[in-house]
């Protein structure tokens, strides 16, 4: 027998088996249960990354580590199982067209999840009245931005993913290649969560003091968005001269340095994503429940400027703005401790998800398949009953 054919047949049998379906569904249930429990001690973001957006993980029960397949692996195999089992095994069988349509709908749901995982971005753009932005920034992901001011007031910007710096330490700094630049950047220390303090004389700083301040490492916060990362960087020029900087995700402005007569700055910040239009907050309004500080509603009157034309739009709860593949929702406002008369900001959640509507279409396809399948069965049953003497 042809060995390739044997392997091919074996593959098809493995990936189309009901046993694999059941096993994967059990793992999926287990992951959901364990992941939910893990959120008691750890934040949603961290658990989501480890349990669901992973291929493998090790679940800890006391000192015992239990290896498990991650959500990506389980769902990926389940998609293959449905494709092979639902479509290939049913080929040639009669009266299964409705079931095949249902499987196509389920695969659309899987595809929507895959596209969202790989191609979607989400974050927020936060504006005070009168302020404009044409980007939104992630709640979680970081980036290191190298900035150079241009003569026309704009900025030349290069970025590097913050996750690639997370391993940096004095023994093994993360060297960021400065292509075409007269210097290189070395990240010598990375802290996932830190505060920045002025160095007082009565205590020793646990980290280098730069210009009178230092980063004080802090325990990781359960809610990932509350972690304030900090890095120490060395800028090493071609002549070997070194400039040291401290960057913090909550600093108000970047660290500026000069090399070879050119001015640059480094900024550790939440990752930014450009929007194809500019949003300006014209007015933010809210109304509290009587005698409480709890808002009954809040909304943002924004101008959306695409460069060619502008239009006024009101974004309020459950009434998002959809434009150019982005959805802007009214998410929150602040500062929470603002006194009457203080300027308030409005925070708009922004989501770019190319598969935004796919689950809807997938559900429609599934509904159509079920209707077709069971409708035919019903008609056949009724016909038989009518024909029965």
């Amino acid at each position: 027998m042809n060995p390739l054919r044997t392997i091919g047949t074996g593959l098809l049998r493995v990936f189309s088996s009901f046993r694999l379906s059941v096993t994967l569904l059990v793992f999926l249930g287990l992951l959901t249960w364990l992941g939910t429990l893990a959120q008691v001690d750890r934040g949603l973001y961290e658990v989501q990354k480890e349990y669901f957006e992973s291929l493998f993980l090790v679940h800890r029960v006391g000192a015992l580590g239990i290896p498990l397949p991650g959500g990506n692996l389980v769902l990926g195999l389940l998609a293959v199982n449905i494709l092979v089992g639902g479509l290939w095994r049913m080929r040639g069988r009669k009266n299964v067209s409705g079931v095949i349509v249902v499987h196509v709908g389920i695969l659309m749901l899987f595809a929507a999840g895959l596209v969202k995982l790989q191609a979607s971005n989400d974050g927020h753009t936060t504006l005070y009245e009168g302020e404009s932005k044409s980007y939104f920034q992630s709640y979680h992901e970081l980036e290191l931005a190298l900035l150079r001011p241009l003569a026309d007031g704009k900025i030349e910007e290069r970025t590097v993913d913050g996750a690639s710096l997370a391993h940096a330490n004095p023994s093994h700094p993360a060297v960021v290649d400065g292509q075409g630049l007269p210097f290189r950047v070395e990240v010598t220390r990375y802290f996932e969560n830190a505060g920045v303090m002025p160095k007082g004389p009565m205590f020793d700083a646990p980290t280098p003091v730069i210009d009178g301040v230092f980063a004080r490492p802090k325990p990781r916060e359960k809610l990932n968005e509350q972690n304030g990362a900090a890095v120490y960087v060395d800028v090493i020029a071609a002549d070997g001269s070194v400039q040291n900087g401290l960057l913090w995700v909550y600093d108000a402005h970047p660290w500026t340095f000069d090399v070879a007569g050119e001015r640059y700055a480094l900024d550790l910040r939440r990752k930014r994503f450009p929007m194809p239009f500019r949003v300006s907050l014209e007015r933010f309004r809210k109304e509290d429940h009587p005698r409480t500080g709890m808002p009954r509603w809040f909304s943002s009157d924004v101008t959306v400027d695409s460069g060619k034309s502008s239009r006024l739009v009101t974004i309020f709860m459950n009434e998002p703005l959809r434009q150019d593949g982005l959805v802007l929702y009214q998410a929150s406002w602040g500062p929470s401790n603002a006194r009457p008369g203080d300027p308030l900001f409005s925070s708009l959640a922004v989501v770019r998800n190319p598969s935004d509507q796919w689950p809807l279409w997938g559900c429609i396809v599934i509904a159509a398949g079920l209707l077709w399948h069971f409708g035919r069965k019903l008609i056949r049953h009724v016909s038989r009953e009518v024909a029965r003497p």
């Binding site: 047949t9 074996g10 593959l11 291929l55 493998f56 936060t126 005070y128 009245e129 009168g130 302020e131 404009s132 980007y135 900035l147 001011p149 241009l150 007031g153 704009k154 900025i155 030349e156 910007e157 290069r158 970025t159 590097v160 993913d161 710096l165 993360a174 060297v175 290649d177 002025p198 160095k199 004389p201 009565m202 205590f203 009178g212 909550y250 600093d251 108000a252 402005h253 660290w255 500026t256 700055a265 900024d267 450009p274 907050l281 014209e282 007015r283 309004r285 009954r296 509603w297 909304s299 943002s300 400027d305 034309s309 502008s310 239009r311 006024l312 709860m317 203080d342 300027p343 900001f345």
Partner: protein, 403 residues
Amino acid sequence: MNSIQRTVFAAAVVFGGFLSWSCGHDESPTFSEPLTVENFGTRFGVSTSERFGFSSAPGGASAAGAPAQGPTADAFLYDLPEGWVERAPTSMRLINLGHEDDPRVELTLVLLAGDGGGIGANVNRWRGQLGLAPLPEGEAEGLPTGTLLGETAVRFDASGAYSGMGSTAESDFRMVGLLAIDVAGSAFLKFTGPAALIATELASFEAFAASLRVKDPDAAPGSVGVPPAVSATAGDAASGAPVVEAPEALLPNSKDGLSWTPPSGWRQAPDRQMRSVTYLLGPQGEAECYVAVLGGDGGGLKSNLDRWRQQMGAGPLSSAELAGLERVPSLGGAAVLIDVPGAYRGMSGERVEDALMLGAVLSQTNGGSAERTVFVKLVGPTGTVEAERGAFRAFVQSLEGAQ
């Protein structure tokens, strides 16, 4: 392939996936290709104190996210009707007026590049805010016209339950407006409030609209700009008033109504909240001297001195000891000096076993009661502080009221 072979095969696939997953995480970071972007308030050359929010300078961390700049109403001239009040403009609401009889009354002028969505869309948006159905297509263009900023404008006048942005509807409201719409730039003048008051003020609105004009007759409405060197910051965002940043030359050795002369060798540290200035002393900056100013008596001389002594592990002062403390002339009065050796315990848990604290407290009075109290405190290892004892005294005596 039997069931054992299938199981082994499946395990091999899973193991292979695990290997590829575990081996794919060792990429060296590289900057992306350069991209030219707009500057949304990023400032270069900002001091460390300002970057991390240790100073009250504009643009500090506490001000992050606040508007960087915006156009002002200065570009327009108008006659303010009697009873109308000016409110802080925003960069969108170049003119923002209210009425002293009812805070719900609003008059705003907004300019947009382009046609802002067109006449029909804007008329129907305003009608929607009043709870009214949209006009049939083309009907908005047939509304009466007026003049706004020298341009022909559609005149809007409707009443209803005003809900603005989805809020609880304010019944019996009226909205009167002028919409000058053009692809080259559009202007929207909108007057909203309780119908009775709007009816009373309608003539004033017409007069206001007629009086409204651009200061520079050569400037198009859409080109209203911001005067150079003027920027609005968080502190003035509420008022909308632009501020001119203070020249750097005013800042050194002078703050909170005080000026002083720092001894040689003292190095100024980044600004700290509640402190006018902080200096670091000694080769490693192991001692610290700071000046703080509090209103009134700052909690009282004795309680403050006792608190300082407690930080050094010493007990409170007796009345006789308090009366016997040395005084030196400073700020037109006499500063009380204190000298406490001991083991220092700071509020943040910092410790110096063999420490010395030198302190000075001076209350400035006005009409017999303390107007403000100045605190000067030097603390650090005994050797370092002893070496600076004379400099500390000179520093206290150098304090003056700033002009």
